[in-house]
């Protein structure tokens, strides 16, 4: 048996009502719910499967040959079709956007173009709990997706629609777009430094796939642009894992040492109790830090391969940071209780800023950087000057992003402006 997620045998009211109507004993429904989801049981009930047929299913056998395939409505429709009659209600619906024609922009048909034509701005609160497209009609009765994030301020940012288009447009391939053929052997200390750095990046990058994936299904489909953008982010991070893993293994080095400190930072993001906390930790703090680390990687590159891979990753990471910063801004500006929201985020920032040190005081991160910057282990002291510069950039830009979002960390930040070493 595979792992079961959040399974409950409590019979939902709607399902109990349907079971009674179809003459199924409730204890049978409870037993069904040990194996199946309420939706799966509902699919059987609305097809008029009998209690005995369900019993056979429970015992692992196929229901008898008379077990129904169609719902009564489907059977009636099939009868109609066989008489040469059609339903055609879809042709009579009064679609609210019928007749709307979107104009093209210079780059093709963008989401901005179709949003401008119709249903551009989502409502502040999602009108349904369904996957019905924004702007479409929906049946009165539907099962419900169980979304928990139904308010716009919980997920939205004002730049998310163009960011999605940009993300799709600027995709790249770690196989095709990196000039791997130009990779040449490096002295052992430089190769080891690059491989240790790439091990670290391979380890941390896909947290920015896992975290949005964890929250995606909880976001109401009314805000589909946010979900679409987060899908591009998940793909970006998969590619980052790919490119850094490839670099570590491509030139005679290999994957080296992953540290518990990094794992702690990643777990802090993944297990954040709310999306805004996790988004702040990941998009603003974590990816802001990684953006500057990528910039340092490009700065320190010893060949075109590294130059190109860091440059391409910089672009992806900057998009994610941009969404996160503007989401934080939107969240605070539209939160019904801004004072409390700010208080909570300041508390999270206190923890997050302490988390910075897990990377910036981690010898397996900063010493490889210093060796790459110095041009070898002999000049590690010189290279530490570049590390100090990265520290300053990271803290400066973090504060700038918080300023922009309206979260004043400048007077509260626990990190020193200059590196303590």
């Amino acid at each position: 048996m595979s792992e079961v997620l959040e399974q409950s045998t409590a019979v939902p009211d709607k399902l109990a009502k349907l079971a009674i109507e179809k003459e199924w004993p409730l204890d049978k429904v409870e037993r069904m719910l040990q194996i199946f989801s309420p939706i799966q049981v509902q699919i059987l009930l609305i097809r008029n499967m009998t209690s005995d047929q369900a019993e056979r299913l429970l015992s692992g056998e196929r229901p008898d040959e008379n077990a129904p395939l169609y719902t009564p409505e489907q059977e009636a429709y099939i009868d109609k079709l066989n008489k040469g009659e059609y339903d055609l209600r879809w042709l009579q619906d009064q679609e609210p956007n019928w007749g709307v024609r979107s104009s093209l922009s210079s780059r093709g048909l963008t989401l901005m173009d179709i949003n401008k034509a119709y249903a551009g701005e989502p409502d502040n609160v999602a009108p349904t709990d369904s996957m019905a497209p924004r702007g479409a009609l929906l049946d009165e009765e539907y099962p419900g997706m169980g979304y928990s994030m139904n308010a716009k301020y919980e997920v939205w940012s004002d730049n998310v629609v163009p960011l999605y288009e940009e993300a799709v447009s600027r995709q790249w391939s770690a196989t095709r777009d990196i000039p791997w053929q130009d990779l040449k052997p490096l002295p052992d200390d430089l190769e080891r430094a690059q491989c240790e750095f790439c091990t670290f990046l391979t380890e941390i990058e896909m947290i920015a796939s896992d975290f949005p994936a964890k929250w995606l299904w909880r976001m109401n489909q009314h805000f589909h642009e946010v979900k679409m953008f987060l899908c591009t982010q998940a793909m970006d991070e998969a590619r980052h894992l790919e490119v850094f893993r490839k670099r570590a293994l491509a030139n005679g080095g290999g994957l080296l040492h992953a540290r518990a400190e990094s794992e702690l930072g990643l777990a802090n993001i993944l297990h954040a109790p709310s999306y805004i906390q996790g988004s702040f930790l990941m998009h603003v703090v974590g990816e802001g830090l990684v953006l500057d680390i990528f910039r340092a990687g490009e700065f320190l590159a010893h060949n075109k391969v590294e130059k190109e891979m860091y440059r391409l990753c910089i672009q992806d990471e900057a998009r994610h940071v941009s969404y996160g910063t503007m989401h934080l801004k939107y969240f605070l500006e539209n939160h019904p209780d801004r004072e409390n929201a700010e208080r909570e985020l300041h508390a999270v920032a206190e923890i997050a800023e302490r988390g910075f040190t897990g990377f910036l005081c981690n010898s397996f991160v900063i010493e490889p950087l210093a060796v790459l910057a110095g041009g070898g282990i002999k000049h590690i002291d010189k290279g530490m000057e570049a590390v100090k510069l990265v520290w300053k950039r990271i803290t400066d830009e973090y504060l700038n992003r918080c300023d922009l979002a309206g979260l004043d960390r400048r007077s509260r930040i626990v990190l020193p402006a200059e590196a303590p070493y």
Binding site: R170, A301, A318, S322, L389, E397
Partner: protein
């Protein structure tokens, strides 16, 4: 072609036009950059608007004109000259003369009204780099040549 000048940037864009497929593959770029060239007492500023897949307009700003750039890249004449010379010699910027390499330590100064605008330099970095790399094909003279 004299650097910096409107004609020089337009000549680079003409080279970019001939590499349309490359720029399309790199994706959309929506940002307006100001390049500031500092030489003794004379500072000149050029506003380069990038839209869709390349630079769509360039103009020199008046002395007191603020312009509409999202961010500016500012450096002394010697820095720009070394970068462009390097691109000419190598056909593209070598490891030590990429825009990011020059900007991170502040050799080229990145200035923006806020971090979101500054981050555009990072978001479209490959497009900007490829654009300047194509100056390798533009015969270039400098002011004192």
């Amino acid at each position: 072609m004299r650097f910096p000048s409107v004609q020089w940037f337009e000549a680079v864009q003409r080279e970019a036009d001939s590499e349309e497929a490359t720029f399309r593959r790199m994706g959309f770029c929506d940002a307006t950059m100001m390049l500031e060239h500092r030489a003794d007492e004379d500072t000149r500023r050029f506003e380069l608007a990038f839209e869709d897949y390349g630079m769509t307009s360039v103009r020199e700003l008046g002395k007191s004109e603020a312009g509409e750039a999202h961010f500016s890249l500012a450096a002394d004449d010697s820095v720009w000259r070394e970068m462009i010379d390097n691109i000419h010699i190598n056909g593209e910027a070598d490891l030590e003369h990429t825009l990011n390499r020059l900007q991170l330590p502040g050799t080229v100064e990145l200035v923006a009204s806020d971090q979101q605008n500054a981050d555009l330099f990072y978001r479209y970095n490959q497009t900007f780099q490829e654009f300047f790399n194509l100056s390798s094909r533009v015969p270039t003279e400098f002011s004192d040549a």
